[in-house]
């Protein structure tokens, strides 16, 4: 009985530690993402993409697909 309880205790302890590690890691990556986002915000969309003909004229054949993808992602 005592042995079983010991096993359960060890398992619970290990799971809690792993969960804590994962949460810390996720929080870290979220903070990094927020920092990157904050740095990027002042830039224009054109700066992020490099030269993109669709930013000058959306009537090109390839830009019709881009517009569809932008609409879908905003939904």
């Amino acid at each position: 009985m005592l042995r079983v309880m010991n096993i359960v205790f060890i398992l619970l302890l290990t799971s809690t530690t792993t969960l804590a590690e994962t949460t810390t890691r996720d929080q870290g990556s979220n903070n990094e993402n927020n920092d990157t986002h904050a740095k990027k915000q002042p830039k224009k969309k054109a700066d992020d993409r490099g030269f993109d003909p669709c930013l000058f004229n959306a009537s090109l054949a390839v830009c019709q697909n881009n517009k569809n993808s932008d609409n879908e992602s905003s939904k």
Partner: protein
């Protein structure tokens, strides 16, 4: 005496339930660890692509293509800002300009290196070997703008080789599956 027997019965029942709980927890923990491990392997593999993109000849090829666009920027912008009777005329003029600046073997080689790299990363995600979020955060902007700029060249290749699947995975992953861009 009855009290002791009852206690023993409770202890026995508790023992069985704890056994079941242990097995369940162990299974859940193993599954959790497996999923975590799989995810971290995917992320590591994706970051391998990022390193390769920055250090290898792919970086040089991409820089050359950006330089090519910068050299022709004024012509491209004035073409795109001009007024055309309809979209067909605009597309024809854009196709002609892009095909003229991509006619040299060096540019074609750089396009092949860059587009093949982007397509390989897309295939890696398709087979769930790489992490989609990581690949898209690092390559989406570059791949999309380069594909949008040089798509007439891709269309020319598809036409020449009679193969509509040339760089199709790249197009589907980074741009978006939609109508045929080479019509």
């Amino acid at each position: 005496m009855n009290f002791l027997i009852a206690n023993k019965n409770i202890a026995d029942a508790l023992k069985s339930w704890l056994g079941v709980l242990t097995v369940f927890l162990a299974g859940a923990y193993t599954l959790f660890e497996y999923i975590e491990h799989k995810q971290s392997v995917r992320v590591e593999r994706s970051l391998g692509y990022v390193e390769h993109y920055r250090d290898s000849n792919t970086a040089e090829a991409k820089l050359s293509l950006n330089q090519l666009l910068a050299d022709n920027q004024q012509t491209l912008i004035s073409l795109l800002n001009s007024h055309y009777a309809d979209e067909t005329e605009l597309n024809a003029a854009f196709n002609k300009l892009i095909l003229s600046i991509t006619r040299t073997p060096a540019v074609q080689r750089n396009l092949e290196i860059t587009f093949t790299f982007f397509e390989e990363a897309a295939i890696c995600v398709e087979h769930e070997l790489c992490d989609k979020e990581v690949i898209q955060s690092f390559f989406l902007n570059d791949a999309k703008s380069l594909f949008n700029s040089f798509y007439p060249y891709v269309c020319q290749l598809r036409k020449q080789w009679k193969n509509n699947t040339v760089y199709l995975k790249l197009e589907n992953f980074y741009v978006n599956p939609g109508k045929d861009i080479c019509q």
